[in-house]
């Protein structure tokens, strides 16, 4: 068990985390490159930058959007807050970073982390329940849509148990192994599933707008490519 845990915290973590970072950076770089290319080719080079930026910020902090669908939005926002804050600002995690890379930043009190972990678990389950119970989402959902929230809940459940050995009915090492490995799995899945929206979010509103920024004469060029330039309507 010790050896497995060492492996999970060592090479497996390094691989998964690097895979995530490189994968997400690749998404960002390629997206920006393509955005640049689209604008360079566009016939109309005007873009409502400030307006799109405002929309982007409104969706990154979507408090104003809650009224659209109150229950779902509140659940989703709480879920995101919890899963973003706890892993990054947990004291125990910061210690690990300090030990490994010498990096350190202020953390949150463990009591707050406890509350947020519970919020993460409850909202993850609630998201799946809402997904199953609403007709549109039930129709739309793929396997990953159900699996990802539940998978994301795993490191929070195990992390909570690790932090509270008195409540933990299982072996400390086993739970810690599941904790680290489930997190590693999430890291690997980040760039290759819808979780990649973490990297795309700041650019999606621009991308959306750029979808309409076609090159000058693009219609004619398509016609030529399809040998339809002489074709009657």
């Amino acid at each position: 068990m010790e050896a497995w845990l060492e492996w999970a915290r060592g090479p497996a973590f390094v691989f998964a985390f690097t895979f995530m970072v490189l994968g997400l950076v690749r998404h960002v770089v390629l997206t920006f490159a393509e955005m640049y290319r689209t604008m360079r080719r566009a016939g109309d080079k005007s873009l409502a930058y400030s307006k799109i930026l405002v929309t982007t910020i409104k969706w990154l902090v979507p408090v104003g959007k809650i009224r659209n669908e109150v229950l779902y939005s509140v659940t989703s926002i709480l879920f995101h807050i919890a899963i973003l804050i706890v892993p990054v600002f947990l004291g125990g995690h910061i210690v690990l970073w300090a030990r490994g890379l010498g990096l350190s930043w202020p953390g949150i009190p463990n009591e707050v982390a406890d509350v947020l972990a519970i919020v993460a678990i409850v909202t993850a389950v609630a998201l799946v329940v809402q997904r199953v119970s609403a007709r549109p989402t039930r129709t739309l959902s793929r396997f990953q849509d159900y699996a990802l929230p539940l998978l994301i809940a795993v490191p929070f459940v195990t992390g909570f148990l690790v932090m509270h050995p008195a409540m933990n009915p299982f072996s400390y090492e086993a739970v810690l192994l599941v904790h680290v490995m489930s997190a590693n799995l999430i890291f690997v899945l980040m760039p290759i599933t819808k979780l990649s929206h973490a990297a795309f979010m700041p650019s999606v509103q621009f991308v959306s707008e750029l979808g309409w920024k076609w090159p000058a004469d693009s219609g004619t060029r398509v016609a030529v490519a399809l040998r339809k330039e002489e074709e009657p309507v």
Partner: protein
């Protein structure tokens, strides 16, 4: 008969049924579009980030009414994204081969065709998508690709044929008839308002070259008289080109190829007349297409002004004298999606209306969050789906109109007007009059002539006798 072969809820031309090998042709068109246009980035990002959260369903007026799975915007978009992933991304090709063996079939294209013409491309769902997925863009693209394999609603393609290969406009109005119509409108203006207003033709060097929805010349003469009257009192330099006087562009609804040709024809006419700006009449999609002029023609293209913007500017400058007696009846405003969804024209019409109406009320929701009239995306031109348009698409809108209690529903868009009239007819809202903004404005412009008696007969040429009697009684 066509009915035996009828696959879709809309008519297509006979020759559309004879297209062979559609999946291959669809993919060839897709490949050409990806290479020569700029949809690739959006398709790639949308297919990665789509979270399937269902918020689009909650914001779609069609889904709210039908509750059918196929009417969920995200579901419709997935029809196209799936083809993109399978045939144009490596990971998608591998994944589909291993997991489900998806291949593009004729039946799949038929499903897509039905789905994308059950959407008005109003893009309300886009505003409510956390991932910024523009389902309207995907509907737009899917329709283009389907058009390349022959699936185009007959109503749209027939109009475009008249515009590009026939008389030169979608309503097939010969230039001579146009001039006659405008002379008739000049006489009407003189008779009712005692003012000599000119519809200027082919004036070289005018500041504005006017492109209304050409159907206005047949269906909305009051709007045009209002337009001309505003130009008259403000001393605007404008002209109507006899070679091309149609702002309608159905290319927006089914093909960028067509859209580009029509847009370029507009620019050609402006250049022929040495005009400076494109002035679009009260028409949402025509305005949006005109805004696409630089997209297709580059940055040197003439600037575009919507008539609402022109009138608003002149009114704020005090160039449009108003009578003391304003519009008494309750008035509400419908935001045409094509000008309001991105927030580009929302306040100008409201400020005009507030200046000319005593009882202006807002419809809820409004502006960028408005509901489509139900006839957007060219659907209004497809007569055979009226039942769908007015009952399924238009039901929510009808409720919203009813809630305002307004007598006049102002919709500065030819398509919205036609659709909303039908929505009102089919939803027991006969008392509501759907009207253009300039129709109302015309009634309160003070021409400084002896027009004191004109108030009661101001419903114009379109009103029939009973209308005039009714208005006279109020």
């Amino acid at each position: 008969m066509a009915d035996t072969k009828r696959k879709y809820s809309f008519y297509v031309e006979e020759k559309a049924h004879e297209v062979q090998d559609r999946p291959r042709k669809f993919l060839e068109a897709f490949a050409a579009v990806l290479e020569h246009s700029s949809y690739g980035l959006a398709l790639d990002v949308f297919s990665r980030v789509s979270a399937k959260c269902g918020l689009c369903a909650a914001s779609c007026q069609l889904y709210q009414t039908t509750g059918e799975d196929r009417d969920i915007p995200c579901h419709r978009s997935e029809l196209l994204l799936r083809v993109y992933r399978r045939y144009f991304t490596r990971s998608g090709a591998i994944k589909d081969r291993f997991t489900n063996g998806f291949v593009l079939t004729d039946e799949y294209l038929d499903e897509m065709a039905e789905a994308v013409y059950r959407c008005t491309a109003c893009r309300r769902c886009k505003n409510n998508c956390p991932m910024g997925i523009d389902h309207g863009l995907l509907t737009h693209l899917a329709r283009w690709l389907l058009a390349e394999v022959g699936v185009i609603p007959k109503a749209l393609v027939v109009a475009v044929r008249a515009q590009l290969e026939g008389v030169g406009n979608t309503s097939a109005i010969p230039p001579k008839a146009l001039v006659d119509t405008c002379e008739f409108l000049e006489e009407e203006l003189e008779e009712i308002y005692h003012v000599k207003v000119k519809f200027p033709f082919d004036v070289e060097g005018a500041e504005y070259v006017f492109f209304p929805a050409v159907s206005d010349y047949l269906l909305e003469p009051d709007t045009l008289m209002g337009n001309a009257a505003v130009m008259h009192v403000t001393g605007g330099s404008w002209t109507i080109g006899t070679k091309n006087f149609d702002g309608i562009n159905y290319g927006l609804f089914y093909s960028d190829r067509i859209m580009e040709r029509i847009v370029k024809n507009v620019v050609t006419e402006v250049n022929r007349l040495k005009g400076k700006k494109v002035l679009v009449g009260e028409c949402g999609h025509a305005t949006r297409c005109a805004w696409a002029i630089p997209t297709f023609c580059g940055p040197d293209a003439p600037p575009v002004v919507n008539f609402l913007q022109y009138t608003h500017e002149q009114l704020m400058k005090g160039k449009i004298p108003l009578k003391e007696q304003l519009i008494e009846e309750r008035v509400t405003y419908h935001d045409p999606c094509n000008i309001a969804r991105t927030g580009r024209i929302t306040e100008e019409p409201r400020e005009i209306l507030k200046a000319i109406c005593k009882d202006f009320v807002e419809m809820v929701p409004n502006r960028a969050q408005n509901y489509c009239c139900g006839g957007g995306g060219g659907l209004v031109s497809i007569d055979e789906i009226r039942e769908f348009r007015t009952n399924l698409m238009g039901k929510r809108k009808a409720d919203q109109i009813r809630a305002t209690g307004a007598k006049y529903l102002v919709a500065p868009c030819a398509n919205c007007k036609k659709q909303l009239k039908e929505v009102c007819e089919d939803n027991d809202l006969e008392d509501v009059k759907v009207i253009g903004l300039h129709d109302l404005l015309l009634r309160v412009i003070d021409f400084g002539t002896d027009a004191s008696t004109s108030d009661e007969e101001s419903s114009g040429v379109q009103a029939d006798q009973s209308d005039i009697a009714q208005e006279g009684g109020t």
